[in-house]
Amino acid sequence: MLNNQGRPTHAGEATAEPHRTFTSNRALQMEEALIFEIGRPDVTGVDIDEPAAFSPRLGGLERAAAIGLPGLSEPEAMRHYVRLSQKNYSIDGGLYPLGSCTMKHNPRLNERMARLPGFADVHPLQPQSTVQGALDLIDELARWLVEITGMESVAMSPKAGAHGEACGIMAIRAAIEASGEAATRRIVLVPESAHGTNPATAALVGFEVRTVPAGPDGKVHADAVRPLLGPDVAAIMLTNPNTCGLFESEIVEIARLVHEAGAYFYCDGANLNAIMGKARPGDLGVDAMHINLHKTFSTPHGGGGPGAGPVVLSKRLAAFAPVPFVTRDGDARRLVEDADGTQAFGRMTTFHGQMGMFVRALSFALSHGGDGLRQASEDAVLSANYVRACLGDLMSLPFGDRPCMHEVLFDDAWLKDTGVSTLDFAKAMIDEGYHPMTVYFPLVVHGAMLIEPTESESKASLDLFIATLRDLAFSVKNGDRDRFSGAPYHAPRRRLDETRAARNPVLRWTAPKLAEKAVAAE
């Protein structure tokens, strides 16, 4: 109970305009300058002793001119970055319903484990005899991924989802080359609902992209795939569960057709979080699939990376996996780093993959166990369906009121003629303390709003989120356009001018004097 004796506890009159402040700060929300405006080149936050006199061996290639790097003392640096952090939304701070991104809880145990000196402080080129535990960890995580997906093996080195896609498609290309069909099999089929990375990857690996239309129910149908298949097709790239949040129910038939045509089935595993312990891609006919450890296995997104994208492979593709990979020699683990003498298609990255992410992912997997992973998938799907059931009467479901997987897709049909767009609605969510859902993706529905609550939310949290969205939806229907058109009102920044940023790109700080000269010259 709050002791309200002797002092007023009411908040006073609300004012329409926030009080202006001298500093432009708003209490805990601090304005912060750039390090180039507050730092000085002669200040340093790291104490280092000058070396004793010596004669350099730089071959005359010494750096002479000033570099242009400001320094901050430790307290200044601490304050700068803490203040910056306070301008970010985070999963620790609130529900983050970004569809297809799987923003689930990031356990801190994983951080502690990744920082054990035996993992964090080992060099990738130390003698293998000194890193047996690290190799063992990679091998153990591989075992989990293979069992969860029902595949033959896994290539661990790809550094992110799109990098994993490239790895899988390269393995397919290597297999096609090995069978002497490289000249004829030039086409990769990609549904229009796919992530943009899919067609970009196929193009990167030298294939031509052909689009598969989605059915009116948001799914890819065997009948749509069949006429596109032929001796010129190398692979199909399907996301399952797909980006509309639906399980591709004809996937087994599609896989059969693809294999019959001599092509390979790449599955985008971005949405694996829906089906762990419920269905295995290997049983569905998948030949290659990347796993986003930063989605399904809770490694932190870190404001846009680092990710990790191991690729599970079928028997037909396993031999083509890139170096390096771990093998077993009796009890010992051995790292194969040389592609020569193997069928490996090459190398994806400097070293062995995202070890720091492997530790976190294994820590997550061990904590859950097989039973917990299955429960996590069930809870993720249950939560998405709960949101669907509680909002379906107000917001429009493009494919009807039917069960979804771990994310639920709404379109903007219900916003028609209200003057409120999907973007406006998303920005109004910010004022309510929520990160918006994924908007305008997938492209196959108009004004998409893709909500993925994940398994990390309590029922109370889901209920408040639903109540908030219902309140916003009522505002839309009541014509309260102000709540949306100018939103967000309460975020550290109002809406930002992205057109201006793209038209005249300012991609770095420039000293004011130089900037003035540049303006004068124009």
Partner: protein, 447 residues
């Protein structure tokens, strides 16, 4: 399970609200014969304590760099990282946020990315830098593709001083895209004639400095030769600290600069995650891969930052995108930028001088060992020694004596000619006089 907040009662209420009899009703789209009935063949859930025990046991079977005299480099370097760096990157708002697609509530990330881009541009003496790549080698591969787009040619010349793993990544990517590669032979003495290899069909020359053997290379004549032939110079580095002391590629005519940023702010972590640095000239900015952060204003006219020029990227351009990249290396870029801010110009220059001074000291000590000679004429904090006998065996023997004494070149080039007796040795500010003495003793007794 401690990470799952829903109770059995919650689940029942939610199912009822949905109108489902059981959770498997929600999985009805999975073909019935493919729905898993049995449990996965995996252990069941574990407490935090149990997981800690298991993983600590695995970690305990490795030899941490900090526990022994340590001289391993070749693309990843052990430096001292201030405690505040790791504290700051673990703040929830940095660690557990997504890509800043909603800029109004992601100004923290965007603000530091703008600072990061400026720091990288300054460090390399280039006009602009992107918001980071996966690592140095993938950045190198992307740089070659970018050069091909700009020049409309499809042949890259790779220097024999380029890290062999970087070369392999480029080769893999090029083979898949049906592009051509000219591989120069391994070049420990930095004596190759790259200029003679630049024909009119060459899109770019890829040169590393300090190179994988530690040699510093003057890029100016190569850049001039490239530009005369309409080709681009791609400059590579794997040790970012070197740029505190060594003439930057931007001052030597490089068109694209890619590098590994791990050595500032980031742990060795057995090879990843790291952070790729990528910089170029203003005129090529629209051909750049990866994310870019730009300055703008908000509806009230206040400065703010957004991701920009996204029309280059896969989520807009799909198969016509400049790259398939979606993720960058945000948190590692944050560690880099915090460490760089703490160092500042003064700290970075001093750190670089200490590294070089230590390496010079070690080179002189090793040069005095019977049967050992230093190959390099110039170097920063890493150099190559030639030993009597098999280098890989010597490195193994040293490890058995508790000294991690460098990388045998044969590990990177298993079939390289004339490299079997070469070891690449790195020496940073972490190495003490005792470490160096232990190294010399271990090497002497391992030959």
């Amino acid at each position: 399970m401690r990470y799952l907040p829903l109770t059995g009662e919650d689940r029942g209420l939610m199912l009822r609200r949905i109108g489902a009899a059981g959770v498997d009703d929600l999985f009805a789209d999975i073909p019935a014969d493919k729905l898993l009935r049995a449990q996965l063949d995996l252990p069941s859930s574990k407490s935090e304590l149990e997981v800690e025990r298991l993983l600590s046991r695995m970690a305990g079977r490795n030899t941490p760099a900090g526990s022994v005299p340590f001289f391993v480099g070749c693309g990843a370097y052990r430096h001292h990282v201030p405690a505040s760096v790791d504290h700051l990157i673990q703040r929830s708002e940095f660690l557990t946020s997504y890509t800043p697609y909603q800029p109004e509530i992601a100004q923290g990330t965007l603000h530091y990315l703008f600072e990061f881009q400026t720091q990288v541009a300054a460090l390399t003496a280039m006009d602009v830098a992107n918001a980071s790549m996966y690592d140095g080698s993938t950045g190198c591969g992307e740089a070659v593709l970018m050069a091909h787009r700009i020049t409309r040619r499809r042949k890259a010349v790779l220097s024999g001083g380029l890290h062999p793993h970087y070369a392999e990544v480029v080769r893999t990517l090029s083979r898949m895209a049906d592009d051509q590669i000219v591989d120069m032979p391994a070049d420990p003495l930095a004596s190759e004639d790259l200029i003679a290899a630049i024909g009119d069909d060459v899109s770019c020359v890829v040169v590393q400095s300090p190179d994988v053997f530690g040699n510093l290379r003057d890029l100016t004549p190569i850049a001039e030769a490239c530009h005369k032939r309409g080709a681009l110079l791609i400059a590579v580095f794997t040790e970012a600290v070197s740029l505190g002391l060594v003439k930057p590629p931007g001052e030597m005519g490089a068109d694209i600069v890619v590098g590994e940023g791990q050595s500032i702010g980031n742990a060795l972590s057995f090879g990843g995650p790291y952070v790729g640095l990528f910089a170029t000239r203003q005129k090529y900015v629209r051909q750049m891969p990866g994310r870019l952060c730009g300055e703008t204003v908000d509806a009230e006219g206040r400065r703010g930052f957004v991701l920009t020029l996204s029309t280059r990227e896969q989520h807009i351009r799909r198969d016509k995108a400049t790259s398939n990249i979606c993720t960058n290396s945000g948190l590692c870029a944050l560690a880099f930028t915090i460490h760089m801010t703490l160092l500042g110009e003064t700290g970075l220059r001093r750190l670089a001088r200490v590294n070089h001074a230590h390496a010079v000291k070690l080179a002189d000590m090793l040069g005095g060992v019977q049967g050992v000679s230093v190959v390099n004429a110039s170097f920063f904090n890493e150099f190559t020694i030639r030993v009597n006998g098999d280098a890989a065996a010597a490195v193994e023997k040293m490890a058995a004596k508790g000294v991690l004494g460098g990388v045998p070149v044969s590990r990177l080039l298993p079939r390289g000619a004339g490299v079997r007796n070469l070891i690449v040795v790195a020496n940073t500010e972490i190495n003490t006089d005792e470490d160096r003495a232990a190294f010399v003793a271990a090497l002497t007794s391992s030959l």
